[in-house]
């Protein structure tokens, strides 16, 4: 391995990267945009509220109190529905996934429940819903919670059981704090794998590899310069993600000595993996296809966007075969839980994978075209 050659390769690759704006955008801006989008959606769930159209057929003091109570909570933004219309048709026509109907005799039924002639008979509230809507389940659960609380209050006695939360973490974390390490891992993997495959395919297709084969550059020089190049991009990308997270969403994660070590191991793992795949991606078109075939399953099944525990058991088992799962685990273990033992375990698995693919990738990188 010759440092002079590694520096020369690095210079050419960094200049090429700097001069291609689209490459810069996808490497740095794309993960930052993901953080901004997901951060905006999930950072403050307590302010999340749903529209709840209500048809008040009662127009009584009792129904007014109910509407007031619904509007008082954070969960719903109550909107009125005309009394004269059919609720089901109205919901279909206006594409509403949930519509609450207060019956005409709501107040009378309430009085009967208390004073007779049928005391204790609950007052029915009908909701019209669209079961095909993905959001309706959450809204119905919130409505159930509201009704349960109202029933409890109506009994006049204090609740028999209350839930007390105790976190395993020393401070309260939000979704964005869990999300940021996943985005860092994903951005590095995407950059390393795509660049290794695309660069190799481009050099091969244009015949530059043939020219390089007649120079003193060795496979080890080329791999080493690829790793240093990707490491530089990874550091810049990670810093950009952390700065945006901090300044926009006030995300404060633990940044210790493990973080740079994990970046190095991840870069070696995915550059090596990319080199290993180059025989299957000899042209630019096949390079993208091969890269995507590995990137997308890893992106979605390794716990980058949502916890692995949400997936069926067999997919959870599969996730544990993916290297990105361990990078995610390592980054979260050090940046969120500050758990050295868990970090070491996850880094160990990633490093073992990196060693295997790096050695195999070195042998697979061909300068000449001999067969």
């Amino acid at each position: 391995m010759t440092p002079r050659i590694i520096i020369a390769n690095l210079g050419v690759r960094l200049k090429s990267f700097y001069r291609e704006r689209s490459a810069m955008f996808f490497t740095f801006a794309f993960p930052v945009i993901l953080v901004l989008v997901f951060g905006t959606i999930f950072t403050k769930p307590e302010h999340l509220n749903f529209d709840l159209p209500v048809q008040d057929n009662s127009r009584s003091e009792a129904s007014a109190r109910l509407l007031e109570a619904l509007a008082a909570g954070d969960a719903f933004n109550v909107t009125p529905v005309p009394v004269a219309v059919d609720a089901t048709e109205y919901a279909k026509e206006h594409k509403l996934n949930l519509l609450l109907v207060i019956p005409k005799n709501f107040e009378a039924l309430q009085k009967q429940r208390v004073a007779g002639p049928h005391p204790g008979v609950p007052v029915p509230l009908t909701y019209v819903h669209d079961p095909s809507s993905t959001a309706v389940e959450t809204k119905i659960q919130l409505l159930d919670t509201f009704v349960a609380a109202a029933n409890q209050k109506a009994t006049g006695s204090p609740p028999a059981i209350t839930l007390v939360a105790a976190s395993i973490l020393s401070k309260r974390y939000r979704f964005i704090e869990f999300f940021v390490p996943g985005i860092i891992a994903m951005a590095i993997m995407t950059s390393c794998l795509s660049n290794a495959l695309n660069m190799n395919a481009e050099l091969r297709q244009k015949g530059i590899l043939r020219k390089l084969a007649t120079t003193p550059i060795t496979r080890a020089d080329w791999l080493a310069s690829s790793i240093v190049y990707q490491l530089i991009l990874s550091i810049v990308s990670t810093v950009a993600i952390l700065l945006v997270s901090y300044f926009v969403f006030d995300v404060r994660l633990h940044i210790g000595f493990w973080l740079p070590l994990i970046l190095v191991v991840e870069v070696i793992a995915f550059v090596g993996f990319g080199m290993l795949l180059t025989p299957f991606a000899k042209e630019a078109e096949s390079a993208s296809a091969v890269a995507n075939a590995f990137l997308f399953p890893m992106m979605f099944l390794s716990g980058t966007f949502f916890p692995v525990e949400m997936m069926p058991a067999f997919l959870q088992t599969f996730a544990k075969l993916l290297p990105l799962y361990y990078v995610n685990e390592a980054l979260r273990a050090t940046m969120i839980f500050v758990d050295d033992a868990a970090t070491l375990r996850a880094v160990g698995v990633t490093a073992a994978f990196a060693a295997v693919v790096f050695v195999a990738g070195t042998f697979k990188t061909r300068w000449d075209e001999s067969t």
Partner: protein
């Protein structure tokens, strides 16, 4: 290290891809300081042979030594003493001419005079231009400059003028003449006869993976070329019979032209005198000496001996 022997020795070289014999048992020697032109039709095996010598491909059998070193065993040393312009040369798109030369100079670890190389290849005006903005001819000139960056003893140029317009082609030839004057050994792969005739000291013609002729252009022409040709333009149709009566075999060429193979200048005089005597009209004439192109066509249009073996 100075090499006093031949620059390149190829001995019984074979390169097979499965049953296909791209290069089939060829041997030749390239002397130090000469321009060696390797001619052949497309797919004849000339680029494969060049790439084995350049260390890009591994031979199936046979040996190749460059400056006394076996290319398969001492690749690292060989590449430091050769410069290569590969076929369809390309470089990094967004890197300038000067940066490309600096990059290869660093890779070779040599103190190249970048300005001198830029001047030699007449790229002064384009030294700050990125590779993807250069025309075909400029790209090839940069490729030649890069091939010279380590001041190599042997320069391999694989079809350096293919696809270039006549003007760009002549500019490349000027560069190559400059290299020849500086005493570089040049291994030139081409299918342009004019190029080989103009530049080469030795020409090898390869067809179907085998060398069918090797010598100086003059000797090849002398040995293999067909006769001199007299072309008579806008000639009266009765001329064909007249010339045939003189013992020649005229061949119609186009609507009113005749092509007559002749052996000596005296034959030309006899034919012209007869046309003048008979009062036939003649629009113009052209006398062409035998050239390398004719040799090439003659040697490569029929299957080389032993092709039945290749087919098997």
């Amino acid at each position: 290290m100075t090499n006093t022997g031949p620059a390149i020795v190829v001995d019984k070289l074979c390169k097979h891809y499965g049953a296909f014999k791209a290069v089939d048992n060829i041997s030749f020697t390239v002397k130090s300081g000469e321009v060696f032109a390797f001619l052949g039709p497309n797919g004849a095996g000339k680029s494969t042979t060049a790439e084995v010598i350049e260390t890009i491909r591994v031979p199936t059998s046979g040996t190749v030594t460059v400056l006394g070193m076996d290319v398969t065993k001492r690749k690292a040393k060989v590449v430091r003493r050769i410069g290569v312009l590969p076929q369809n040369f390309s470089s990094f798109d967004r890197i300038t001419v000067r940066e490309s030369l600096q990059y290869y100079a660093r890779v070779f670890g040599c103190r190249a005079d970048i300005d001198a190389l830029i001047d030699l290849t007449n790229l002064r005006d384009k030294s700050a231009a990125r590779f993807n903005t250069l025309s075909g001819g400029l790209k090839q000139r940069l490729g030649i400059a890069i091939a010279l960056v380590s001041d190599p003893e042997i320069v391999f140029l694989d079809e350096p003028t293919t696809g270039l317009d006549p003007h760009a082609r002549r500019q490349i030839w000027d560069v190559l003449k400059g290299l020849k004057e500086r005493g570089k050994t040049i291994f030139l792969t081409t299918h342009y006869m004019e190029e080989a005739e103009l530049l080469a000291d030795t020409v090898a013609i390869i067809s179907n993976g085998r060398i069918v002729a090797i010598d100086s252009p003059a000797k090849l022409t002398e040995e293999h070329a067909v006769q001199m040709r007299l072309t008579l333009n806008s000639i009266d149709s009765a001329a064909a019979g007249l010339i045939r009566n003189l013992g020649f075999c005229p061949v119609p060429k186009g609507d009113d032209n005749l092509c007559v193979p002749v052996k000596t200048p005296e034959d030309v005089h006899r034919i012209l005198a007869e046309i003048k005597r008979s009062g036939l009209t003649l629009g113009g004439l052209d006398v062409r000496k035998p050239n390398l192109e004719e040799v090439f066509l003659k040697l490569t249009e029929t299957p080389a001996a032993g092709d039945q073996d290749r087919a098997r």
